[in-house]
Amino acid sequence: MKDHGIGVVRASGALLTGDAPEARTTPKFIAYVTCGDGDTVRIVEELEEAGADLIELGIPFSDPIADGPVIQAASQRALQNGTKTRDVFAIAESIRKKSAIPLIAFSYLNPVMRYGVENFARDTASAGVNSLLLTDLPPESAKEIRAAMHAQTIGTIFLLAPTSTDARIKAVDRASDDFVYYVSTTGVTGARKELDPTLIDRLDEVRAKLTKPIAVGFGISRHEHYELLRGHCDFIVVGSAIVRAVGEGRSPGSVAREILQG
């Protein structure tokens, strides 16, 4: 795999030098947390101990249209706690003091625009964040943001969905620096009992068209999902199941362990 020298790839080339068959069959674990909902630094520490390979740091937004009720509620709590974008950078810095785990900032476009794209790129980099994913920013509108992030060696990641056409698969593959994030089903984020029955076939089909690794997210919340996805993707993303545990005062680490080990 080509080393692009930026983003998550640069942070942990080892994770993605996945030409070895083993690396491509056992998916790495990406854990999502909503920053400012609970003690995020401690939560991330616990998740890393439980086996998380990468962390998505959610920057809360008031109107998260791609998120289901669990992450909406967590974002609302975080905002009520007074969480600002700069607090997320402070959280990243604290994590970085103790850990080299790759960090992906995850949000919506408006808070980034308001912060100022150049400022955001600079502060993301100095906080030790490696990559950025904005759910409402398709690659064709991302020129300015990509350039600003790349100037700070921050990678950009884009989404693919079951409805994406071949032309869009190509464009997203080209624009994504680290990996492509495949949305498992049409819908918003949220733990689901069962994954979309067409997911595996569709995933194999999409993966074959990509030059970049592929992560799968939305709905993944059980060990059997992890087992089902083994061999079909490079990363799995678990969000709502972890965020729900945080909200209910349960251990996010045990959720991660349960998904990984059963």
């Binding site: 109107d63 974008t85 625009m113 759910t135 409402d136 969905a161 819908g187």
Partner: protein
């Protein structure tokens, strides 16, 4: 220059900022729209429904007694309140429902603030045999109870939205979440010149009948173009509808009136130009009321239809190039106009439209010539709100 461009931008405003899942549906909608635009049978079907079901063309009424209270000009009201269902919203709802049918989508979703777009969409769905689900904030459901009942009578499911400020913004969030989930079978009929491309263009085109009719009617009555055109602006569909055909006529002064609410502090109004900043909300880049951290602000207006933190991207563009001027009108002034028009002319205007009239009451002394105001809807739905004051 024709706007929007191919990517859906009006200058720096507009575009498509949505989760990937929706991108294919937007492309599908855009190609379906391009196809029906060239299709004479579509135009015939739409015109037939507009004439024989909606009741177009709507009247143009002169309002001399109200004009006298404002200043020394002739005032004409474009009577969109006389449309079937009581507002301009039906012009767009019928058009989009016809496209949905041609795309083979049997399920329609919509958001509504004042309830007029919800009623219009429920009506279009009943007429065309489509399933209809309308998202509405709980605050709006309480203040527009009559319209909730009307939608249910028309066979629509009304889903209460309890998140955020429980008004139009949150109803749109929920409608988008539904659409992301059911995108293959569902068409989302957005009710204003908002949202990702191609919505601002499509809604504008379906509403532009208002301005075309008004120009023709004025030509007959006065033999000339109007001097001033005024409309209230929430998302901005009735205003774009009035303005669009008039834009090439540079002699016409155009004024959009936003909700000034209770005052200029963030959270007390919906005046995006004086209080907002460039941002992205609900798929489009425009002027957005937000705090310094980019969190969307809550808004206030006595009229549910103007109570929204962003403004249609074409309005942001028209403001930037200086073609249309935007002002605001307070709750109190809108209420004063609501009463004055009712008493002087025998027309009860919607509280939304009352903002355009309220601005005229306060600023009419500086205006002369012929003025046309878009009376975007009737005020029946607002009677309980006004009675409760």
């Amino acid at each position: 220059m024709t706007v929007p461009n191919k990517q859906g931008f009006f200058g720096q405003f507009g575009g498509k900022f949505v989760p990937e899942t929706l991108m294919a549906a937007l492309d599908e909608f855009e190609s379906a729209y391009k196809k029906v635009k060239r299709d004479k049978s579509f135009r015939r079907e739409l015109d037939d429904i507009l004439a024989n079901f909606v009741g177009r063309p709507t009247a143009l009424s002169e309002a001399p007694k109200f004009a006298e209270m404002c200043g020394g000009f002739r005032l004409f009201l474009k009577r969109e309140d006389l449309n079937h269902t009581g507002a301009h919203k039906i012009n767009n709802a019928i058009g989009q429902a016809l496209i949905a049918k041609r795309m083979g989508k049997q399920r329609i979703i919509a958001e509504t603030g004042a309830g007029q777009h919800g009623v219009a969409t429920a009506t279009a769905c009943a007429l065309l045999g489509l399933q209809c689900v309308v998202y509405m904030g709980e605050v709006d459901m309480a203040r527009q109870e009559l319209n909730v009942f009307r939608m249910r009578l028309l066979g629509a499911e009304v889903v209460p939205v309890s998140s955020g400020s429980r008004t139009l913004k949150d109803a749109i969030n929920e409608a988008i979440r539904d659409w992301v989930t059911n995108v293959r079978t569902t068409h989302y009929i957005i009710g204003s010149v908002l949202g990702p491309h191609p919505y601002p263009m499509v809604v504008r085109d379906f509403q532009s009948v208002i301005g075309r009719e008004a120009l023709a009617q004025l030509r007959k009555r006065t033999g000339k173009l109007p001097d001033v055109a005024i409309a209230c602006v929430g998302g901005g569909s009735n205003a774009i509808g009035l303005f669009h055909a008039m834009l090439p006529h540079e002699s016409i002064r155009m004024i959009g009136v936003e909700a000034g609410g209770r005052g200029p502090e963030l959270g007390n109004h919906a005046a995006r130009f004086s209080g907002g900043a460039l941002g992205v909300l609900h798929g489009t880049r425009s002027m957005v009321l937000q705090d310094e951290h980019g969190q969307i602000a809550e808004t206030h207006s006595i009229s549910a239809g103007l109570d929204y933190p962003s403004i249609g991207p074409e309005h942001a563009y028209l403001q930037e190039i200086g073609r249309v001027e935007y002002h605001d009108c307070s709750d109190d002034l809108a209420l004063e106009a609501f009463h004055k028009l009712s008493e002087s002319e025998g027309i009860i205007p919607a509280l939304e439209s009352s903002h355009a009239l309220g601005w005229l009451l306060r600023n009419g002394a500086s205006i002369s010539g012929d003025v046309v105001v878009n009376l975007s809807g009737r005020g029946d739905k607002d009677v309980p709100t006004v009675a409760a004051l």
